[in-house]
């Protein structure tokens, strides 16, 4: 059957990258439409009129929005290489931690990135507390999904991709291998997976982008 799959994304969106990883793991063919956030296409605005954001997956003309919703949709339609656990409790845990990542971990890491001095010290303590929960979730596991990459690994993809970039720009270490041995190992295992790293946006462009985003928050030296 001819399936039509289109993914609207930007080159750097960590949310869109989740969908890219899921599609690659499931070995699905799809068309990519790169969006310019400052000049959104009519199609994107038609497919996602409420949020006007990427990613949007269009399957046989029908749009699905919100990256985690898209991941579940992909997993339900294409059964090969399952992303979510079968067991309802394990599934609930995966969903819980993915939401924790987006609602708590990401904002706390961002706070570290844009704050300075005392504020930054407090932000680091907060972020470290959040990362500790992730460290605990990896006990006895290579990936959050177990032996293979799953939904939660993909949801946390930004941890593997983005944190080292933010660390480099802000000149600090958040995920220290001595304090977070399991998380550090996971970041390497995840990054080393060919399906993952072949999709990553160019690092130098990412550094440039996030340096620019940090600019307004950095105190100018008189």
């Amino acid at each position: 059957m001819g399936e039509e799959l289109k993914l609207f994304r930007t080159w750097s969106s960590r949310y869109a990258l989740r969908v890219v990883h899921a599609l690659k793991i499931k070995d699905l063919e799809y068309e990519t439409i790169f969006e310019d956030i400052k000049n959104k296409s009519t199609s994107l605005l038609e497919y996602n009129p409420i949020h006007k954001k990427v990613p949007v997956l269009v399957h046989n003309g029908k749009p699905i929005c919100e990256s985690l919703v898209i991941l579940e949709y992909i997993d339900e339609i294409w059964k090969q290489s399952p992303l979510l656990p079968q067991d309802p409790y394990e599934k609930a845990m995966a969903r819980f931690w993915a939401k924790f990542g987006d609602d708590k971990v990401m904002p706390s890491i961002w706070s570290v990135f844009i704050s300075q001095r005392k504020d930054q010290e407090e932000a680091i303590a907060q972020a470290a507390g959040n990362l500790k929960f992730l460290e605990e979730q990896l006990t006895g596991k290579k990936f959050f999904g177990g032996e293979t990459i799953g939904y939660l690994d993909i949801a946390f993809g930004w941890v593997a991709n983005l944190i080292s970039i933010l660390e480099e720009i802000a000149d600090l270490k958040l995920v220290d291998a001595e304090i977070f041995p399991l998380l550090s190992a996971w970041m390497n295992n995840f990054s080393d997976h060919p399906v993952i790293n072949e999709c990553w946006p160019p690092r130098d462009k990412m550094v440039e982008k996030f340096k620019a985003m940090r600019e307004p928050y950095v105190e100018k030296v008189a």
Partner: protein, 230 residues
Amino acid sequence: MAKGDVQLLGAWSSPFTNRVQMALNLKSIDYEFIEVNFYSNKSESLLKANPVHKTIPVLIHDEKPICESLIIIQYIDEAWTKNGQSILPSDPYDRAIARFWAAYIDEKWFPLLKELGKESGDETKAAIMRKIFEGAGLLEEAFVKCSKGKEFFDGDNVGYVDIVLGCFLGWIKVTESMAGLKLFDETRTPGLAGWAERFVSHNAAKDIVPEPHKLIEFYMMVQAAKASTG
């Protein structure tokens, strides 16, 4: 299944607790309700059940805790497959749409109502009200598309989006009486106006959605407690 196997830590006034109660009702699941007073010191059992967020509701099934109301509802749907009809739609695309609207309601729309409750300036309040009405318009469109001419978002039966939005009807009525206008009125949002009446009298929801006057009393009590400790 023995009642002791399922416990719900929650609060009668919390719409997030209410929606889990509705999901349990839809599946005819017996459970023990453990009322938590989340405005006073968090109880030890709550901190043990939800060490990450320390919030309610928490569903405990066979001693395993599940947190976050939307995740709990999906868990209930997936763990009890033989009890009545499913809460989420059976078609994957319809499921994706239902999840989308649940996220919109929780992350974008309901926070506006909370914001309105906190603001005092007339202009700010008016701006928030405009956004609330815009959102209601979007939800009206969603209702028309999802219901396909039937009584509920899920069609003939109460389902996921119905309980995700319906649990707020008590607080919506409180907002309406305090602001002096209707959020889901017959002219602007006729679909939702009809849906709201049908929902509050549905078996899954009646006796769960608190009476507005009780919520107002509760709201006043919380405000007074905050003022005296502030």
